[in-house]
């Protein structure tokens, strides 16, 4: 019911904009989108599904590596000495956007077998790493002192406190971190594909359509595809979040 309302609101706003000649009509776009799902576009010859798969593979690899580092490192930030050693470095590197790494990453990966792919994965890595890291380390560092005190009084050393208190307490933060990180990782791959490219990917598709011109329905189809994939990834992670029965819940 509510979903239908939500959808209705969205489509109405879109029709209004089309009426004002700002966007192509939803139905035109829908037809283009449907066509692109099965047929390649004349310019690139690939379906939007093929482009999506390329992008998804890059995102999954890049963010996967990012999470492999950001989760343990974020948790370890709970240690004051790790925090004070790494925090300044990470805080200086963090605001450098993934895109700004493009020139550097090309040079860094020059000797690798497939440098464009490495560079793109690296850019996704940079994009996914920092937001997930910030969220996870925020959580870990905010572990309530009551629980730390509890573990201490029972003789838990720092290692045990980390494993039995900080980590379980931070699990919701880890999942939120993964969600936010995947989001930014997804953004980064699209951006990376827009600038440097290896012949496929949704960002590449949008950029080529934009450059060739006159393909607003194709561009919006590409954006819609990005939205749908992002929505899917998020929905899966939200399902995961519900798995924690002790997780404080708001009313439903």
């Amino acid at each position: 019911m509510r979903k239908a309302q939500s959808f209705f609101l969205f489509i109405s706003a879109w029709y209004l904009l089309s009426f004002l000649n700002v966007l192509p009509y939803p139905h035109t776009t829908a037809i283009t989108f449907a066509t692109l799902l099965v047929e390649g576009d004349p310019v690139l010859g690939k379906t939007i599904i093929e482009h999506s798969i390329s992008s998804i593979l890059r995102v999954v690899t890049g963010s996967g590596i990012a999470f492999l580092i950001s989760i343990p490192l974020g948790i370890l930030m709970w240690y004051e000495r790790v925090y004070s050693l790494f925090y300044p470095i990470l805080e200086v590197l963090r605001p450098i956007p993934p895109l700004a790494w493009i020139p550097l990453s090309y040079i860094l990966f020059a000797s690798f077998p497939n440098p464009t792919v490495f560079a793109q994965i690296f850019i996704v890595f940079v994009g996914a790493f920092f937001p997930s890291f910030v969220t996870i380390s925020d959580y870990a560092r905010n572990t309530p002192s009551e629980y730390i005190e509890l573990a201490e009084v029972f003789g838990g050393d720092e290692m045990k406190i980390l494993r039995r208190v900080v980590i379980p307490y931070s699990i919701p933060g880890i999942i939120t971190g993964i969600r936010v990180g995947l989001g930014v990782g997804w953004m980064s791959i699209i951006a990376a594909e827009m600038i440097a490219t290896s012949g496929s990917g949704i960002g590449y598709f949008i950029m080529v359509m934009y450059e060739v011109g006159g393909r607003m329905p194709e561009i919006i189809s590409g954006m819609a595809m990005i939205g749908i994939i992002g929505y899917g990834m998020n929905a899966i992670l939200l399902k995961l979040e519900e798995r924690f029965p002790w997780h404080s819940k708001s009313r439903t």
């Binding site: 003789g155 379980p168 002790w246």
Partner: protein, 244 residues
């Protein structure tokens, strides 16, 4: 062989909380601390446990500083980990010491009447049940020194009496040193070898009463009632409050 609290002082900013508290509990003795709400009992227990630092003074156990391994602690708030079940919370304390013995953890839950609630999460337990899980957690690690901060406050009379007797049974078996904060003078007289009476804030030791009654004690006993009256008088004298 004793636990010695020596001239402990503590301030929180402008608030003077502990103003030179000293007393000694012989090894294997059961001591109760009574004192007005807000006088500093919890603070004192935390200092003994080493999770709060004293401004002055020291805690000596058998001639050396207290170690974490010596301590079992029952918090005034139940302080259960929300992501662990009742059983998991008890196992938590064991894990902190590198022990794993699920059966032992279970047997303690049974002891406090929580058989069948092993897999309940804290938010699914009643106030008294949560507090009992907290007690199991402290007992399960077999501490040399057991610090208990009003552990029975949220129990009904029956359960409370049962728990008091269970506690005495365990204590009698292992003869650990116990420091037990309570507001119930009845409870203090029933349990303690020695009652430490604190003044109102800033807390000082106003009296230390040795309870010289054979166990098991009878609450209707002449001697019991006279001890009770003594402690009450002692408390009310400091508080300058009318006694009911």
């Amino acid at each position: 062989m004793a636990l010695e609290v020596k001239n402990v002082k503590k301030r929180f900013g402008d608030l003077n909380v502990l103003d030179g508290v000293s007393f000694t509990v012989e090894d294997g003795n059961f001591a109760c601390i009574v004192g007005e709400s807000g006088c500093g009992k919890t603070t004192l227990l935390k200092i003994i446990a080493g999770i709060e630092r004293a401004d002055e003074g020291e805690i000596i156990y058998n001639g050396r500083p207290v170690k974490k391994e010596d301590i079992g602690y029952v918090f005034q708030d139940d302080r259960l980990l929300p992501w662990r079940t009742a059983l998991g919370n008890i196992q938590f304390a064991m894990e902190m010491r590198g022990i794993t013995d699920k059966e032992k953890a279970k047997s303690y839950l049974e002891l406090v009447g929580l058989k069948g609630f092993e897999s309940y999460y804290p938010h699914q337990l009643s106030g008294g049940m949560r507090q009992r899980v907290g007690i199991c957690r402290a007992l399960v690690v077999n501490p040399e020194i057991l610090l208990m901060d009003e552990p029975f406050a949220s129990l009904d009379a029956q359960t409370r009496n049962r728990m008091q007797m269970e506690l005495l049974k365990i204590w009698d078996r292992d003869r650990k040193t116990v420091i037990f904060v309570t507001h119930s003078i009845d409870e203090a007289v029933f349990l303690a070898d020695k009652i430490v009476v604190l003044s109102k804030r800033p807390a000082r030791v106003i009296d230390v009463v040795d309870i010289d009654i054979e166990r098991p004690r009878d609450r209707t006993d002449e001697k019991f009632i006279s001890y009770r009256r003594k402690i009450m008088r002692c408390l009310s004298s400091i508080n300058h409050a009318p006694q009911t």
